[in-house]
Amino acid sequence: MTKTIETRIDRRFAALKAQGRAGLVTFVTAGDPDLETSKAILAGLPKAGADVIELGMPFSDPMADGPAIQASSLRALKAGHTMRDTLDMVREFRKTDNETPIVLMGYYNPIYVYPAEKFLDDAASAGVDGLIVVDVPPEADDELCLPAVERGLNFVRLATPTTDDKRLKTVLKNTSGFLYYVSITGITGSGSADPADVQLQVARLKRATTLPVAVGFGVRTPDQARAIAEGADAVVVGSALVRSIEDSLTQDGRATGNTAASVLSLVEGLSAALRA
């Protein structure tokens, strides 16, 4: 495993371990449904109980995502959201919160055309802690992962039910921060995994790495979060949160006074379940 600088992610997982509980990782898409509302959601997440924030970088063709996150990405793009806006959101967040880790999640093309090296510089200086780039596998570590690690960013990789022990070694090689276990074969927001099966899989991953393991895909409710958290270091919730944004909008897709509040109250409920 690559030796990395201690990041906010490392410190947060150490703190969670000391508290003896699993963390809550929340995903929302930057700029959804508009920049101002999205900033308000981001600012409210730590108080609502998010331990780690995943912020989606909108992309026109999110191939690994289900309808909820596809729609959230398109809402942000329709509102004119750019990669610079995403980085500005992080920079602004950091003015008042220097503790909560932020992981940017998305697809390679918007990073590639930014271009990549400049993106990594700007992300690091904005206060981003880690990256998840869905379509850049370990085989392409030279072009994004290693330059990210050089700049002190964690490169978080996904392990999936198709990742056998041999493949896991490749996946773990340059992974840092945490390992994200995708609990089902499928897209975000689809079926839910059997918690017992997830526990077995997480135990298998933990035999191969000392990194914290976060489990995601198909986790919607506080009860599911609590069940999945058994044996894992964190639970990721995404589609359920962006769905609540969608549900709060007016018919023509505008934010309402209830948009930020509905997401944050969902986060509060999930967080309470993990702290109980």
């Binding site: 992309f59 093309n109 055309v113 869905v134 379509d135 596998p137």
Partner: protein, 423 residues
Amino acid sequence: MASKDQKTTEAKANSLRAGPDDTGFFGMFGGRFVAETLMPLILDLETAYTTAKNDPAFQADLKDLLLHYGGRPSPLYFAERLTEHYRAEAKKAGKPGGAKIYFKRDELNHTGSHKINNCLGQIQLARRMGKTRIIAETGAGQHGVAVATVCARFGLPCEIYMGATDVARQSPNVARMHMLGAKVNPVTSGAGTLKDAMNEALRDWVTNVRDTYYLIGTAAGPHPYPAMVRDFQAIIGEETRAQMLEREGRLPDTLVACIGGGSNAIGLFHPFLDDESVKIYGVEAGGHGLDVENGHAASMNGGRPGVLHGNRTYLLQDKEGQILEGHSISAGLDYPGVGPEHSWLRDSGRVNYVSITDQEALTAFQLSAKLEGIIPALEPSHALGWVTKLAPTLPEDNLLVMNMCGRGDKDVFAVAGYLGIKL
């Protein structure tokens, strides 16, 4: 099939036919940019394909299917009246000349296009791998029909993803897929065209990883698809080479093929890449014109490099790296990317990539119908649009081969509509 020919060429230093490298790159293009869930599947596929390619039994089975089921070899036809037409045009312009036009008649294959070449290869591979369910994307529906056909032939269930816009404009092919027993899933995300269909097929594959084989129809996507599809389509160029040698005693001087993802083109071009005397043209869909933003599908003439659908290649995209939908009258060319080997051949200068507008393609469509009695698909009508510009400027001894990669049955109602023909 290609193996003997390839071995001799690969031995040559600096061959343009040696790619991709071990990691699936043609220069900077190609690669394997997919989600981790799919990586083990892609790696398995690569191993299975490499083994099959070198297995004489696999090649013999495929050869037999191509001959007796696919209807190969397809004829190399001298288009006499078109040749006369272009020579008359040249004379009118005061510059005597006009190339000798041949059509490689892949529209005569079973299912009506070159797509069957690749489908027969990949279905054999899927069966070898023990896969029991087939999925595919389709634009014009030619690939969807070919997939549905081979699935019917080998008794495998199949689901085809097709953009809702394309379902509407290519309804004869939708009917054919249904009759062949395929399930057609209209895709409404995005503009409902080929790129969106490919996204949806990838989402299916990432969900059904154990039993499902994704039968990609063009020479794009993650490694090994671009190389594998090219290998299965290279029979077009191999036959052309042998047929032209027999007919004219020498190699052709000029090759022309249309480019969406680019499978028919790479199939024709690849066996000739190391023959420096052969000039090669790939014809992209110019739609309403290259100067119309988001109004064309010419990714190499009007796009820039990026990463989509598993490979790095030229893409239609905005300055933020968001993918544009593009536009073409032809559903088969309406794709914002292109196979990575074409991107590499573009940058290396070996192949000239040009574009033809909707209107120019429609004119060429009518020319072929009226002068040769061949109703072409809208896709090769783009290739013929370029031939219409190029042929009169070439000398009379220039041997030009255009790949007539699909027949126009699927397009007749749409074209009648464009031309205002009352039926």
